[in-house]
């Protein structure tokens, strides 16, 4: 710390010109970033602006930013009165929460066994898990749909949830983390007479909080935003998740621009708020696990 400071302060005369150059560079960088950043939020801002217009103003030519008839909450009111969006958000919250909880539990258990256990087929399971990371979920839609049809689960929450709890990548990420936990810590617990399960729950899991929360965040975001599979798995509007339901609205009322945008803004909010609250956590999770959804 001090060494660095001393090193920086040493050639006092040169620093002033260097720091002025740095200041100019920083200033230029900030301006450039502000311009690009403004472009980046423009689609969102434009959606917000449109959502506060009346339908007539949203569809009026020429296009203007400030509506002639003034700002209004009408679009939000009609979206919320239709009630579907709230229902879809609730469905998304429910399915994504269940998917996250189940995925976390079964992946952590399997990863722990793969890291520590000695059982028949361990190598085979590890190899199969690694190989399956390459399988794109999208190619499974046809057989998975047929399977769900046979299981009589199409148009149920089960159809949405079950296929999404299999997360080989997360098993791999968790196993790698467990591998690095010194086994001596567990030995101490075992000597005290703790069962394998107890050791897992009271020693290993508490040490793994960071990676567990990172995995939970990724799984939740993936499930919350997933489109293709829930789109195929349910047709009943009452069971649709938010991304799927919103797509049907867009098709049904195509011309109600203010309402479309109001619905989009409302649908975007929950995850954005969560991200703003937990930004540091999520970014760190990105760095430690290296991999995310999509």
């Amino acid at each position: 710390m001090t060494a660095v400071d001393a090193g920086r302060g040493a050639p006092a005369r040169r620093t002033t010109s260097v720091s002025r150059l740095r200041l100019i560079q920083q200033g230029g960088g900030v301006v450039l970033l502000a311009v690009v950043g403004l472009i980046w939020v423009a689609p969102f801002l434009w959606g917000i602006v449109t959502s506060f217009k009346s339908e007539a103003d949203a569809a009026a030519l020429p296009v203007r930013v400030v509506p002639e008839g003034g700002w209004t909450l009408a679009a939000y009111r009609s979206v919320l009165e239709q009630g579907d969006l709230v229902r879809w958000l609730a469905n998304s919250l429910f399915t994504a929460t269940v998917i996250t909880a189940v995925t976390l539990v079964i992946s952590a258990m399997a990863a722990y066994a793969l890291s520590r256990g000695l059982f028949r087929g361990r190598r085979l399971l590890m190899a199969a898990t690694l190989a399956s990371i390459m399988v794109p979920g999208q190619i499974l839609i046809v057989p998975l749909f047929q399977e769900m049809l046979l299981l009589n689960m199409i148009d149920t929450y089960w159809a949405i949830i079950l296929p999404q709890v299999v997360a080989p990548v997360m098993v791999f990420v968790l196993k790698r983390f467990f591998d690095a936990i010194p086994i001596e810590l567990e030995d101490a617990a075992r000597v005290d007479g703790a069962s394998r399960w107890r050791t897992f729950v009271s020693v290993v899991l508490p040490l793994s909080r960071s990676v567990l929360s990172a995995v939970a965040i990724f799984v939740f975001i993936g499930a919350w935003n997933n489109f293709l599979w829930p789109f195929i798995a349910v047709n009943d509007p009452g069971l649709m998740t938010m991304p799927v339901g919103l797509a049907t609205v867009e098709n049904a009322y195509g011309v109600q621009y203010a309402q479309d945008n109001a619905a989009a803004v409302l649908a975007a909010l929950p995850l954005l708020v969560v991200f703003i609250l937990f930004q540091r956590h999520i970014v760190r999770g990105f760095a430690t696990t290296g991999l995310g959804g999509q």
Partner: protein, 309 residues
């Protein structure tokens, strides 16, 4: 006591090399049972079942299901729509991946170099990645709207006739790529930003002592140190772009005149609109083969480079 133990090990796992492990004695296999069941039922099962279906004439209506040998694969190789959608997919992959890698790298370098407002820039560029696809397509379809959209309204103000963003065959795929750039750039951006923060500071100090300027430090220190991250970003990006479906389906449904239809959308249309599940499964597997080849080629390429360096 427990807190000190925790603090001691809470840091090492991320960085320390794995300690030699002893298994917890035999058993423990039951820990894998819940995962194993789900894995078998909803991943391995469908993979095998899908392969089986690819050799049948199974229909969504329930009829068919008898073995037809390689007929589906033969048909796929001769189906002009397979080749056309494959071509669209590859074109989309190129025109989306190149900017998605380069722009995210550029923005990460810029954000890393600029001290003030780190969290704000990070939020700005990453936030779209958190939006569900339907929100993204509503916002962008609205901006691409021919008369009322922000883009053509702005062009109109400049005296131009405007562009058929989603209605012109030659433009639509580019428009979707632009939307995709906006939507998913944050992922690559964060990976690059994390990598930049991990470059040891002393390398820059050494370079500065050698008299290296900003540009020289970028070329000789930063970019080489990002090589590993770049190969990761490139491969993840290629695979993600090849799997494009959602935004195309929602913005153009493959139109105009099939100019934006991707291979996965052809799978979807074949299976769920034309009810030909067997044929759709066969096309899925042709696509899967392509993905596997690319993944293996990349693994081979990386391991070769790893040996050399």
């Amino acid at each position: 006591m427990t807190t000190t133990v925790q603090r001691q090990v809470a840091v090492p796992p991320a960085t320390a090399p794995p300690t030699p492990r002893r298994p917890l004695a035999s058993g423990g296999g039951w820990f894998t049972v819940p995962y194993l069941v789900a894995f078998a039922l909803f991943l391995v099962g469908p993979v095998v079942y899908g392969l089986w279906m690819a050799f049948t004439d199974q229909s969504l209506t329930g009829s068919g299901g008898s073995l037809v040998g390689f007929a589906n694969f033969g048909e796929a190789l001769q189906d002009p729509q397979v080749w056309a959608t494959l071509r669209n997919t590859v074109v989309f992959t190129v025109i989306s991946s190149v900017p998605l890698v380069l722009v995210s790298l550029g923005l990460a370098l810029l954000v890393h170099a600029v001290r003030p407002g780190q969290w704000l820039w990070r939020l700005t560029f990453f936030a779209p990645f958190l939006l569900p696809v339907t929100v993204v397509t509503i916002l962008w379809t609205w901006m691409y709207q021919p008369d009322l959209g922000l883009f053509n309204a702005s062009l109109g103000a400049l005296g131009s006739d405007g562009i058929g963003w989603l209605t012109d065959e030659n433009v639509a795929l580019w428009s979707i790529a632009l939307t995709t750039l906006w939507w998913t750039l944050g992922f690559n951006f964060l990976l690059y930003l994390a990598a930049l923060q991990n470059i040891p500071q002393h390398l820059y100090e050494a370079a500065a002592i050698d008299g290296a300027g900003t540009w020289r430090r970028l070329v000789s220190v930063t970019l080489p140190m990002l090589a590993r991250t770049t190969s990761l970003v490139v491969i993840l990006q290629l695979l993600a772009s090849l799997k494009v479906f959602d935004q195309i389906y929602l913005m153009t449904m493959g139109g105009p005149n099939n100019s934006t239809r991707s291979i996965l959308e052809y799978v979807y249309d074949t299976g769920f609109t034309n009810y030909r599940l067997g044929y759709a499964a066969a096309i899925s597997y042709v696509f899967f083969a392509l993905i596997v080849v690319i993944s293996l080629a990349q693994a081979w390429f990386l391991s070769r480079r790893g040996v050399r360096s």
